[in-house]
């Protein structure tokens, strides 16, 4: 981020400090939009706190009158009707997401280092072109053969099926490469003279330098994995292996478990938002690098 504090030398700049009428209108518009953007999130919180009679109240009321945490208790109990305890879905989601995020950062950064300008090998450019091309189509395109391959590997209904395929994340490699390319060559040359191996350079120089890039990658892959319903849907069979989005689809909407559904929706949507709130500055810092130079 640039904080400019220079002098203007008498030239009147375009940016003025005074608060004009136009700026006031703009601010009001943005605040209105912000309220609109917050609407579903507030709704989810409010709904999760509503006792069952308020959830089914007619005519419906947006705000909660007598907030209670009973729905979360219901969620844990109502799950006996789901054949698998609720905590199992939470465990599956957390375990799969954390593993995928960690491995994606590691595998993606390692590949990015090999593809960065710190190395030169024949075919490097071609390989990176392939990676960029793969950014240009939806992963759904490959879902059928992916299913066949996972099936052939015997991974159906195993955690492997949910953890390994996402590691082919081209976005991870793309983002990390943009960053690693910026690491000054002199630092690396100096450490090679000092006898550092590629492994040491990777851990001691590259990874610390690219910290904000992994924050971005972390949140992106967290959101993608946490919210992904496609892979668990096609790669799992038994209820024991399913993750939160699928559970939400099963119990969501029904009147019978309205309370549990509201609580589950809350638990589903808030983790990514909370994590992002903590990482926001780092994420924005690194985002400037995710451009395609043409």
């Amino acid at each position: 981020m640039s904080t400019y504090t220079g002098l203007y030398y008498g030239v009147k700049p375009v940016r003025r400090r005074a608060f004009t009428f136009g700026q006031a209108v703009l601010l009001v518009f943005l605040l209105g939009m912000a309220a609109f953007m917050l609407l579903p999130l507030v709704f989810v919180v409010v709904n999760a706190l509503k006792p069952i009679d308020e959830l089914l109240l007619y005519p419906p009321r947006f705000w909660v009158q007598r907030p209670t945490l009973a729905n979360f208790g219901d969620l844990v109990l109502a799950s006996s009707a789901l054949t698998v305890p609720f905590i199992r879905y939470v465990f599956n989601s957390v375990f799969v997401t954390v593993t995928v995020v960690g491995l994606t950062i590691l595998v993606g950064s390692m590949a990015a280092y090999a593809l960065s300008n710190k190395h030169r090998w024949p075919g490097q450019e071609l390989f990176f072109t392939l990676v960029v091309s793969a950014l240009m189509f939806a992963p759904e395109v490959t879902s059928i053969p992916r299913y066949l391959i996972v099936n052939r590997l015997g991974w159906i209904d195993h955690y492997w099926a949910l953890i390994i395929p996402p590691l082919a994340s081209t976005y991870a490699v793309f983002l990390m490469k943009q960053f690693i390319d910026q690491v000054p060559r002199e630092i690396i040359e100096a450490s090679i003279i000092d006898g550092a191996t590629d492994w040491t350079i990777f851990w001691k120089i590259i990874m610390p330098f690219a910290q904000s890039a992994w924050a971005t990658l972390g949140i992106t892959s967290f959101v993608a994995t946490w919210n992904d319903a496609f892979s668990p849907l096609i790669f799992t069979r038994t209820e024991v292996m399913k993750t939160l989005p699928l559970m939400l689809q099963t119990i969501g909407g029904g009147i019978a478990r309205a309370g549990a559904g509201a609580a589950a929706t809350f638990l589903m949507i808030f983790p990514p938002i909370i994590i992002f709130t903590f990482l926001q500055s780092r994420v924005v810092e690194s985002m400037a690098y995710s451009g395609i130079k043409s």
Partner: protein, 317 residues
């Protein structure tokens, strides 16, 4: 960026004598780099490259997973375009969706990033605008269906009736006229995602002195400033965003399922991905579903090439 064609040309055009020896020597020297690449390369080959090739291969076969695939040439494609009226609906919907939601979300990502970046409280504002994009398609579909429900329980219907704008509840998600517009609206609502953040970051990195220099050169309004300075400077980010918004708008499936059900009423929100999912994982007609995947692949890829060409020509300096 060099295209695949250019890269291949360059690789092929190298002088012949001692070429292999030199290549092997180069690989030997970068042994460690290749080891670093190996885990990703393996996953990429097995779960991306091989699947694309397999999908193309399977699209020329009849395959139901029980019997080995049987070669049937172009039959799948002929059925797809000549006999499958639902597929044509899916294509139409996907294109309406991509051509409306894609450019609109791309524009909104820039517009809001630009407006928010001028504010003093840009951090909390950015967080609020970004938050809906973090919500899963299924969850957002569920939430939106509370607002849009057909009976008087629906908050929108309830609100419109209470202010007297409506006499009777409108079944927004069961009426063919309303399903698509609402799916597009909710998608737009969730579209201030990574593209939006990329723009905020890009805007913060624009060198302030350029604006001052431009003021001297006679740039007067904020609009001129954004058109002549900011946009050209942010070309790489914009290109990246354009690609991402095309990919994600072609990709829409879960939100449509969450909002309109599967299959949706009179296929009003049926997309190419939905059609593929139907044939692949419900009817197990994998050859046919692969043909759908290949068509989707060609559409997305083709559109991205066009966007690339269009954006690459503007403002080169």
């Amino acid at each position: 960026m060099a295209t695949a064609g250019q890269v291949i040309e360059r690789a092929v055009a190298r002088p012949a004598p001692g070429r292999f020896a030199r290549i092997i020597e180069a690989y030997r020297k970068e042994k460690v780099a290749l080891l670093f690449l190996a885990p990703f390369a393996l996953a990429f080959l097995v779960f991306t490259v091989a699947p694309v090739l397999t999908a193309i291969g399977l699209s020329f076969t009849y395959y139901n997973m029980l019997q080995p695939p049987k070669w049937i040439g172009l039959t799948n494609y002929r059925l797809l375009f000549l006999d499958d009226s639902v597929f044509l609906i899916a294509i139409k919907n996907t294109f309406i969706f991509a051509l409306l939601a894609g450019p609109l979300s791309f524009t909104a990502c820039f517009l809001f990033a630009w407006l928010i970046n001028m504010q003093r409280f840009r951090k909390p504002l950015a967080l609020i605008f970004y938050a809906p994009s973090l919500v899963s398609g299924i969850a957002m579909g569920l939430i939106a269906s509370y607002f849009l429900a057909a009976d008087r329980y629906g908050l929108l219907n309830n609100f419109l009736i209470s202010i007297g704008a409506l006499n009777q509840p409108v079944p927004f998600l069961r009426d063919v006229r309303f399903i698509m517009p609402f799916v597009i609206l909710v998608q737009l609502y969730m579209s201030l995602g990574n593209g939006f953040l990329v723009n905020i970051a890009g805007l913060q990195n624009v060198d302030r002195t350029l604006y001052e220099a431009a003021a001297i050169d006679g740039i007067r309004s904020k609009l001129q400033e954004v058109w002549y300075i900011t946009l050209p400077l942010m070309k790489p980010q914009l290109l990246f965003n354009a690609v991402m918004s095309i990919v994600s708008s072609f990709n829409v499936f879960w939100l449509a399922v969450g909002l309109a059900g599967f299959p949706s009423w009179q296929y009003a929100a049926h997309t190419i991905v939905a059609h593929m999912y139907d044939y692949a994982f419900i009817r197990f007609s994998l050859g046919y579903a692969s043909a759908i995947a290949v068509v989707l692949f060609l559409f997305t890829f083709g559109l991205n090439r066009i966007v690339f060409r269009a954006l690459s020509t503007r403002g080169d300096y």
